[in-house]
Amino acid sequence: MPKNTEAAVTELTVNGTRRAINADADASLLSVLRDQLSLTGSHYGCGEGQCGACTVLIDGLPRRSCITKVGTVGNKQVTTIEGLEQGGRLHPLQQAFLDVGAMQCAYCTSGMIMSASALLRSNPNPSVPEIVRFMEGNVCRCGTYLRIVAAIQQAAKNNEAGR
């Protein structure tokens, strides 16, 4: 329930669909996605953009949805983990995370995959140091980092083979 109706945000484009919402402009994008749109694959981890569990794409760029005010999104395209599957086919990164077993509790996994998808858009064949630098803001407390790096490399390789 918005405190100030003038600042209310009523629409959001998520995973290619225009969705009706009702939120204060300064509400976090994360809480709108999770609580109003039931897109709970983006997770709360720290509330200060330090752990990456809430990562989504906004117009293709990785953004921490916990510190993104929904009022700043406007007409931009928001992509969440739920929007990666295309026609029942897993995104190459989703498949690679499964193939490599790049998870334990997997609470960080959606944020990892979203960050990595942004990386592969801008750099289809990243080196290990490039992966490490780009992914440094995403925390896996279970410590599966090496597997995540391997999964990103495998997805990059599969992408290349598919082109």
Binding site: A27, D35, G45, E48, C51, L90, G101, C105, L146
Partner: protein, 736 residues
């Protein structure tokens, strides 16, 4: 009688440093046989009874059953697990164990698939639901693999036995000639088959079996011993899995609790008018508890911010700066327990004689800081009251313990509380208590609607509990030939796990000293074994240095335990301990030990940048033996992850506090290992198919800190004896 029945999980001795646990209540499952079949439909149920199964059989007066016995009106008490084969062949397994990322769901699925001869995809695990699963004390202490795994296998073997009997009866065939695979019984003589579903159809067979029936030996495993991928992995990579904090119920409100500004502060005056006037806000003030339920997280936060509260600070409290002095000076007489079967003290031989026999004598003090578990999913709960019955979904390693907390808080009988535990966003020993569950339930009760409460990261850092800090004094002596003659070891506060030395020393005095703790503290992955191994294995290096021996050679010389020797040798060989030499500014270190049935040795290479003081762990090799390996890839994953987590506690994680406040309770202030901190990690598995499988979620962490500390010494000549060793780099560690 097998070790499991002598020391079943529900009666396991609790280590003294599990400070957060109260004495567990002994609850009994009350679901009757008829009710069971009414809920599940017909079929075959097999329950595994861990306690004195022979007495159980006698009391039931059963004689006809080939295994165990049937049961009539009520299921027997002391059941650890059961499984149900439904009329369409689906297998549902019920266990009180929970999944927190250690991949127990997958490993237990393998156990059932192995003995029941059914594909893993046809098995559904119901875990940690207090209304559906048998009582379990909790998922901790690396007990799932050594206890629940064999119990589920026994139940599965018994169920297969029932199915074989049914098929033999149906065909009037010799049951010893029948075979089973992929959910079907076959008669090779006639090529007839019957699926498990066909056999279970129209039946209501219930059987209880004792916990010590024979199992398929590891060399003949076909499902166990293989790297089955995480059984529901697709749910996680698609974001479909609902963690406790993801659960949304119709009409659900969001909760927020007013926290005191410091530990020990007491509520003085309270003005809640403004918060209560907010639309949709329910305010609860009940004793010390003040909180709100509101239609959104934002409104709940605004409402709590609008509460005007005056707090009376508690008395002066020690800060992290004087922590170790405080621990030494404040023994906890009341605790007075633990370590050695209820005693805190272990002595053999004479320290005086041992030191007199030594050519080199040393004495050192090591310290470990409080650290936070920081599970990426903070504590969270959704609570719902319906017709006086409370249901709570929450992330906990002890769903039955949380049920007990809720029963106590709301004075409810057992049947009126249900706790469900969806696979949760990790725990590492940090989710043993039900704080968020009790808070959410209190708010939901007042609001008359379901309430979700997710702790903020700051709340998680402040109001959860920490790994105990500790001071460890070690003294010892060795002869010039490398024989250790004396070993004295005193641990203040951090705990008794891993406190014994695995080395063969004639004169020993080892003691755990409980103390008062400035902060709330409790279990953490491997408990105090990490602290005790750090002190012991670093001191071993110091002794080796004193007698001018290679650290590996010195260890092997004093070891009799063949399995521990084997992991030290395997790690050293893979690492190239003897053959290769570190580059300039680099150093090699080694450390290891055994705990909870796991034997670990870790070699580490560190690089120290002299200019910046930055310490980087470059390479780690861990050799591990936990008996017969159940799932090699998931075991490797645990060992890799334990090493990464271990780097945090070894090098930079520490909770800072002052006068009842946490000073660095955010991810931006408390550094956890990230991508750039991770070394190359190699894992050597010693798969001992002749040994029972032990748990592996904890003990692989123990070797990392001493290996890194010893490697820093090798690289620089600087001996660091406090965990974390280099929170701000090596310069700060050595100058301050």
């Amino acid at each position: 009688m097998s070790p499991e029945t002598l020391n079943p999980v529900n009666h396991v001795d609790l280590e003294p440093e599990r400070y957060e646990l109260r004495s567990p209540s002994s609850y009994h499952f009350e679901l009757g046989r008829r009710e069971f079949f009414r809920i599940l439909g017909g079929g075959i149920v097999v329950a595994c009874v861990w306690k004195d199964a022979s007495a159980f059989q006698q009391s039931r007066g059963e004689s006809g059953a080939r295994r165990g016995s049937g049961f009539d009106e009520r299921l027997p008490q002391e059941i650890s697990a059961w499984l149900h084969i439904g009329e369409s062949g689906e297998v549902t397994v019920y266990t009180g164990k929970v999944e927190v990322g250690q991949n127990a769901r997958t490993a237990l699925t393998q156990a059932v698939a192995e003995e029941l001869r059914v594909a893993p995809r046809d098995i559904r695990m119901v875990m940690g639901d207090t209304d559906l699963t048998p009582f379990d004390m909790g998922t901790f202490g690396s007990r799932t693999t050594p206890t629940m795994n064999p119990q589920l296998r026994r139940a599965s073997a018994a169920a297969l036995d029932v199915l074989m009997g049914l098929a033999a009866d149906a065909w009037k065939a010799d049951r010893s000639k029948l075979t089973a695979s992929d959910g079907k019984i076959a008669d090779p003589a006639t090529a007839r088959t019957l699926s498990y579903g066909e056999l279970a159809k129209g039946k209501q067979l219930a059987q209880a079996i004792p916990a010590e029936d024979p199992l398929t030996p590891a060399p003949r495993w076909t499902v166990m011993g293989n790297s089955l991928p995480k059984v529901d992995g697709i749910e996680f990579v698609t974001g479909r899995h609902r963690y406790p904090s993801d659960i949304n119920l119709p009409g659900m409100l969001h909760g927020k609790v007013l926290r005191p500004p410091s530990f020990g502060a007491a509520l003085g005056s309270l003005d809640t008018h403004e918060a209560e006037a907010m639309p949709g806000v329910t305010l609860v003030h009940d004793g010390d508890f003040v909180g709100v339920a509101a239609p959104s997280v934002e409104i709940a936060s605004r409402a709590v911010a609008a509460i005007r509260a005056e707090w009376k600070p508690g008395g002066p409290q020690p800060s992290s700066r004087e922590l170790f002095d405080y621990l030494r000076k404040n023994p906890d007489q009341a605790a007075g327990q633990g370590g050695f079967g209820g005693r805190s003290d272990h002595q053999v031989g004479s320290m005086e004689k041992g030191l007199a026999d030594a050519h080199q004598r040393l004495q050192q003090t090591y310290t470990v800081a409080y650290i936070a578990h920081t599970p990426l999913e903070p504590r969270a709960a959704v609570a719902q009251w319906e017709n006086g019955k409370l249901t709570v979904w929450t992330g906990t390693q002890r769903p039955f313990g949380v049920r007990g907390e809720l029963m106590e808080a709301f004075r409810l009988p057992q049947g009126q509380v249900r706790v469900e535990m969806p696979d949760t966003g990790s725990g590492y020993g940090g989710k043993h208590t039900g704080d968020a569950a009790v808070e959410a339930a209190r708010l939901a009760k007042a609001a008359g609607k379901p309430v979700k409460l997710v702790w903020t990261r700051e709340e998680e850092f402040t109001w959860a509990y920490f790994r105990p800090a500790g001071v460890i004094d070690v003294a010892g002596g060795a002869r010039s030939d490398g024989t250790i003659t004396a070993w004295e070891f005193h641990n203040y506060n951090s705990g008794g796990s891993g406190i014994s030395t695995p080395y063969d020393v004639a004169n020993q005095h080892i003691q755990f000293h409980p103390t008062q703790s400035p902060l709330r503290q409790g279990s953490y992955r491997a408990l105090a074994a990490t602290a005790n191994h750090f002190a012991r294995e670093c001191f071993m290096d110091e002794l080796a240095q004193a007698v001018k021996m290679d650290p590996l050679e010195f260890r092997l010389r004093n070891l009799k335990d063949e399995r521990l020797k084997a992991v030290f040798q395997a790690a050293a060989q893979k690492f190239g301990w003897s053959e290769s030499k570190p580059a300039a500014g680099h150093g090699f270190g080694i450390g290891g030990g055994l705990e909870k049935g796991g034997y670990v040795a870790t070699c580490a290479e560190v690089a120290v940048d002299r200019a910046s003081g930055r310490v980087q762990t470059v390479r780690v090799v861990t050799a591990f033996d936990c008996g017969a390996v159940v799932n090699p890839d998931h075991l490797r994953n645990q060992i890799e992850g334990a090493n990464v987590m271990g780097i945090g506690g070894a090098l930079f994680e520490a909770i800072e506090f002052e006068n009842g406040r946490i000073l660095n309770g955010r991810f931006s202030q408390y550094r956890v290992p990230r991508f750039s901190d991770v070394p190359q990690i190699e894992v050597v598995l010693l798969d001992r198919k002749d040994q029972p499988s032990a748990g592996a979620g904890e003990s692989p962490i123990m070797g990392l800190a001493p290996a890194v500390g010893n490697a820093i010494f090798a690289a620089t000549g600087v001996r660091l004896r406090s965990l974390p060793m280099a929170p701000n780099g090596l310069k700060a560690a050595t100058s301050g």
